[in-house]
Amino acid sequence: MDANNVAEMDKLIQRMRQCAEELKEKDSGIQAVERNVDRILANIKMLELNISDVKELV
């Protein structure tokens, strides 16, 4: 694995974040969507701590 792979993983993580945030905007107040997206976003944050935060240092 090299810097390109880390950058590629970061791109995918950011797409996941964008997708989750779009879903939250369109949830029409449905709690079953909103709360599950919140949990997904918490996991995306952990991916960012593990990959995105370090991408420019690898």
Binding site: M1, D38, A42, N43, K45, N50, D53, L57
Partner: protein, 447 residues
């Protein structure tokens, strides 16, 4: 080329060169400082009073200009709104999904708010610990702990699940039922305080006729809550009693799980420098210590904790950087021997500084002594007296004179102090289920 993915939870961060770790820490420190400044009235006041703004932190050395916080400040802010956390809170109350509190050992408990993201972060930090200690998805992990308002082992439970282990929650079962359940399910790992690791082994042998080292299947034990797993003689006792590897980790409710021993057991613990910034401060001069071997108190920042940020917290824990490296190839620095004392716990007795862990190390080095002991410091007139209560193992009573001679001799060498020794019948000193309270200083109460 990346190091072996099978050895590390995150090989990118755990093998990042030190200079890059410093760059990562600076970036994350600036981010959490800005977050706290913008979202916590407490932190904004603190920094404005000190004339600090987030943009002022440009170089790593600038971090030392940021004011420290102490536990007393955490207690004080709890008098302010919003109830019950106070204005250190940096998120709206409706985003808080869990309440935890400190044990209150040193005073009024500190209340800790967790958002779900913070809770994922807790689990994540524990994943680093457990993976480094060899936990994998083939493990069946028993947690013999009554889960409650304290954070202890909640995060260990969630992290073990996250890395695929099968978790057996021991909850409200009593000690004997827990041992039998571990045996029935052939659990191969568990997590507990050192006091309880030894207490369970004692109960297994003496109440159930079970030898944990032979009749159970435990291969690894993760300790928390007390320094025992980093005290070589106590670690040896635990490993011998269970026929298992015993690993230490260090964490705190208001900080997070910041340090861990790996399977190489190098004699120290790795600091998770991707998630935490640890500074060691000279207790007398306040200078930051970067050289190995010199003790100081820990100033720690949780770099990613959101609901109740922990920025430059003066933990009072006394630590020192190790002057050796670990064969595991992690670049996270090691602290030698774990937390070696507390700045507010190291007692001055007869004019000599005494760390309670030094007494434990000597007592547990003598194989003829039981696991339990108690130290009582009192004052008669102007003179301090130290009473050490011990138990001699059954069958060894005839060797009492020789045992006491060696005990006194080693205590004098290790602590430079003289002790009155009291031998108690085996099994008569208090047994503890979570943390032991073996050091009693009666001087302030007129004892």
């Amino acid at each position: 080329m990346l190091k072996d993915c099978g050895l590390y939870w995150n090989p990118i961060l755990e093998t990042l060169p030190q200079e890059k770790l410093r760059a990562l820490q600076l970036k994350k420190f600036r981010r959490i400082l800005e977050w706290a400044y913008n979202n916590s009235p407490f932190y904004r006041r603190l920094y404005q009073d000190a004339g600090i703004e987030p943009g002022d932190i440009k170089r790593f050395q600038d971090i030392q200009r940021v004011p420290k916080i102490e536990k007393g400040m955490m207690r004080e802010v709890q008098q302010r709104a919003p109830f019950p956390y106070g204005d250190m809170l940096s998120v709206p109350l409706e985003q808080v999904t869990a309440f935890r509190q400190t044990s209150g050992t040193t005073g009024t408990p500190v209340y800790q708010a967790e958002t779900w993201t913070d809770w994922e972060w807790w689990s994540e930090s524990w994943c680093y610990i457990l993976y480094a200690q060899g936990y994998r998805d083939t493990d069946r992990v028993f947690i013999p702990f009554g889960y409650n308002i304290f954070v202890a082992f909640w995060a260990g439970h969630y992290a073990a699940e996250k890395l695929g282990c099968e978790v057996v929650p021991g909850g409200v079962l009593d000690t004997q039922a827990r041992i039998l359940k571990m045996q029935e399910l052939r659990c191969n790992a568990f997590m507990a305080t050192p006091t309880y690791v030894l207490g369970m082994a004692d109960a297994a042998r003496n109440k159930l006729g079970i030898d944990p080292a032979k009749d159970l299947n435990i291969q690894k034990i993760t300790c928390a809550g007390e320094p025992g797993a980093s005290i070589p003689t106590t670690k040896k006792r635990m490993e011998s009693a269970w026929g298992a590897k015993v690993y230490d980790h260090i964490g705190a409710t208001e900080i997070g799980a910041w340090s861990y021993e790996c399977t190489e057991q190098p004699g120290g613990l790795h600091v998770n420098e991707a998630l935490f910034l640890v500074e060691i401060e000279d207790i007398e001069t306040g200078e930051i210590i970067t050289d190995p071997g010199k003790e100081g108190k820990m100033i720690i920042t949780a770099l990613d904790r959101i609901a109740k940020p922990c920025i430059r917290f003066d933990s009072k824990d006394v630590i020192r950087w190790a002057d050796y490296e670990c064969d595991c190839s992690r670049t996270f620095r090691l602290i030698d021997g774990g937390v070696v004392g507390r700045a507010d716990d190291i007692k001055k007795v007869k004019g000599v500084l005494l760390a309670p862990t030094a007494i434990e190390e000597v007592v547990r080095s003598l194989s003829e002594l039981g696991d339990e002991y108690e130290v009582v410091v009192s004052k008669r007139g102007d003179v301090d007296n130290i009473l050490l209560k011990i138990e001699i193992l059954p069958g060894k009573e005839g060797e009492q004179e020789s045992i006491l001679f060696r005990l006194k001799d080693q205590l004098r060498v290790k602590t430079n102090l003289g002790y009155k020794i009291e031998v108690h019948p085996f099994g008569s000193l208090p047994r503890y289920e979570v943390k032991g309270k073996r050091f009693k200083d009666l001087r302030k109460t007129g004892g």
